[in-house]
C-alpha cells in the first residue's frame, strides 16, 4: 500500500513538473541554443550572469526592454558577457530565440518548478555514477589507491566539478593510457618508454611539428653514502623532454661536484624534486635512479689476500 501511495505521489509530481516544461518547449530553437551556448554561465549564474529561471535576476533586465536584452546578447556586455556568448557562428535570430527562451523561463520561474529542472538532471545522475562509496576506514590501506581508483575520468576524479558540463567534454586519461607502457607510480605510465618507442610524439616546438630535440647522451654517476646503489643521471632521457635552460644553471650548476643533492632536499621539492614527485616519477621508485651497484667492498679483498 505504501509503495502504491508513493508511486501515485511520484507520478503526480512528475506531471506537475512537466506542465511548465511543456510550455517552455515551444521555443525549440531557443532551447537548443541555450543548451549549447548560454548554459555554461546562465545555468548557475556564473560571473554575474542572470541565472536561468530566476525571476529576481531577470526582472530589472526584462524591464529595460527586449531590444536592450537582444543587443546585449548579440553584441556582448561588460564585464563578462561575450558577443553571442562566445558562439559567433550562431545567427542573430537564433540568439534572440535563446533570449526569448530564457526570459520566458524567468517569467515562469517565480511561480513554477522551471528553475530547479535543469539543476535536477545532473543531481539525479550523480548517485548512479557513484553507487556506494566504501568508507575509507574499511579499505585495506586507507592511504593506498586501489586499482579501480587509478586514472579516473575527470568528472569522478575529486577535483573536477561534476556539475560542470565541460568536465564531461574532457578526455578521460584511460582512453589514452591503455595503449602506453605502464609503470608503478605517478600517472602509472612509463613516459620515457612511451617516447622512446614512438607511441607518443609530443612536439619539440610549439608550432613546428617536425622540429627534433638535440639529445645529449651523457651519464653522470653520483656516488652516494650508505648502502644504496650509486645514482646514474642520464642526460639522454632528460634532454629528450627538456631544454638545458630548464635545469642549468638555476637548479643544477653545470659543474661536476658543485651540486649538493640529498633525498631530503628532493622531498622538499628542490633539485630533482622540482619535477620528480610532482610530474615525473616520484621518489618511491628508488631503483630507477639508484641503479649502479657499488664495487665489492674493499674489506673483503683484504681478507682474501
Amino acid at each position: 500500500m505504501i509503495t502504491q501511495h508513493f508511486s501515485t505521489l511520484v507520478a503526480g509530481l512528475l506531471v506537475a513538473a512537466a506542465i511548465p516544461g511543456q510550455a517552455l518547449a515551444q521555443n525549440d530553437t531557443g532551447k537548443a541554443v541555450y543548451d549549447k551556448v548560454c548554459v555554461a554561465c546562465h545555468s548557475a549564474g556564473i560571473a554575474g550572469a542572470p541565472k536561468f529561471g530566476d525571476a529576481k535576476d531577470w526582472a530589472a533586465r526584462i524591464k529595460a526592454g527586449m531590444d536592450t536584452l537582444y543587443e546585449s546578447a548579440i553584441k556582448g556586455k561588460a564585464p563578462a558577457m561575450p558577443a553571442k556568448g562566445g558562439a559567433t557562428d550562431v545567427s542573430d535570430a537564433d540568439i534572440k530565440a535563446a533570449v526569448d527562451y530564457m526570459v520566458a523561463a524567468a517569467k515562469n520561474g517565480g511561480s513554477s518548478a522551471a528553475a530547479p529542472a535543469p539543476a535536477a538532471a545532473p543531481a539525479a545522475a550523480a548517485p548512479e555514477a557513484a553507487p556506494k562509496p566504501r568508507p575509507a576506514a574499511l579499505s585495506f590501506n586507507r592511504l593506498l589507491k586501489p586499482a579501480s581508483k587509478r586514472n579516473p575520468p575527470p568528472p569522478e576524479d575529486g577535483i573536477h566539478d561534476p556539475d560542470n558540463d565541460g568536465s564531461y567534454a574532457l578526455q578521460p586519461p584511460l582512453s589514452v593510457f591503455e595503449g602506453l607502457p605502464r609503470s608503478n607510480a605517478g600517472n602509472r605510465i612509463n613516459w620515457v618508454k612511451a617516447l622512446d618507442s614512438n607511441q607518443i610524439a609530443p612536439r619539440w616546438d610549439r608550432t613546428d611539428p617536425t622540429a627534433a630535440p638535440v639529445v645529449m647522451d651523457l651519464n653522470i654517476v653520483r656516488e652516494v653514502k650508505g648502502s644504496m646503489p650509486d645514482v646514474v643521471y642520464p642526460h639522454k632521457q632528460h634532454t629528450a623532454w627538456l631544454d638545458c635552460s630548464n635545469c642549468h644553471p638555476q637548479i643544477f650548476i653545470p659543474q661536476k661536484g658543485a651540486n649538493q643533492i640529498s633525498m631530503a632536499a628532493i622531498l622538499l621539492g628542490q633539485k630533482c624534486g622540482v619535477c620528480h614527485g610532482k610530474v615525473a616519477f616520484p621518489v618511491s621508485e628508488c631503483r630507477i635512479c639508484h641503479s649502479k651497484k657499488k664495487d665489492v667492498m674493499p674489506v673483503k679483498n683484504a681478507n682474501a689476500q
Binding site: 567534454a169 589514452v176 610530474v279
Partner: protein, 128 residues
C-alpha cells in the same frame, strides 16, 4: 590519556577539517589555478599535465612560454591569455581551441586551493 571518547572524536574531526582531506584520486600532476578564478566568479582552473605532455615536450611551455616550474609562481590572467601569453600562445583557435570555451579549463570544484594535485599514491602526511 583519560579523555572522554566524544572529545577524542571531536579532535579527530577537527584534525580532518584542518588537514583539508586531499582529493584522493586526482590524476598525477594536475595543477589547480585558483588565485583569481573564484574571486572573479569562475570555477577554479585545472591544468592536466598528462594531457599536455602527450602533445608537447616539457620544454615548450617551461622554456618557450615562460611557465616557471614551481606551483604558485605563475600568475596567469585571462588578459594574458587573450593577448597570446602563457596558455594563450597555443589556446588561440590555431594550435588549440580558443579561450571562449570557458568551462573546459574552469572546471574545478569550487573552493579548491591552488597547487599541484594527484601527488603520489599514498597521499599521506608526507609531501610526495
Amino acid at each position: 590519556m583519560t579523555r572522554c571518547p566524544a572529545s577524542r572524536i571531536a579532535l579527530f574531526l577537527a584534525g580532518l577539517l584542518l588537514a583539508g582531506v586531499p582529493p584522493a584520486s586526482a590524476e598525477y600532476a594536475d595543477v589547480v589555478l585558483n588565485r583569481m578564478a573564484e574571486k572573479e566568479g569562475m570555477r577554479p582552473v585545472i591544468f592536466p599535465h598528462w594531457f599536455h605532455r602527450i602533445r608537447f615536450r616539457c620544454k615548450v611551455c617551461h622554456a618557450e612560454l615562460g611557465f616557471k616550474m614551481r606551483a604558485g609562481s605563475n600568475l596567469v590572467t585571462m588578459g594574458d591569455i587573450i593577448e597570446g601569453r602563457f596558455c594563450g600562445a597555443c589556446h588561440n583557435g590555431e594550435i588549440a581551441w580558443a579561450p571562449e570555451n570557458c568551462d573546459l579549463c574552469h572546471s574545478g570544484k569550487p573552493g579548491l586551493p591552488p597547487g599541484i594535485f594527484g601527488g603520489h599514491d599514498t597521499n599521506g602526511p608526507g609531501i610526495w
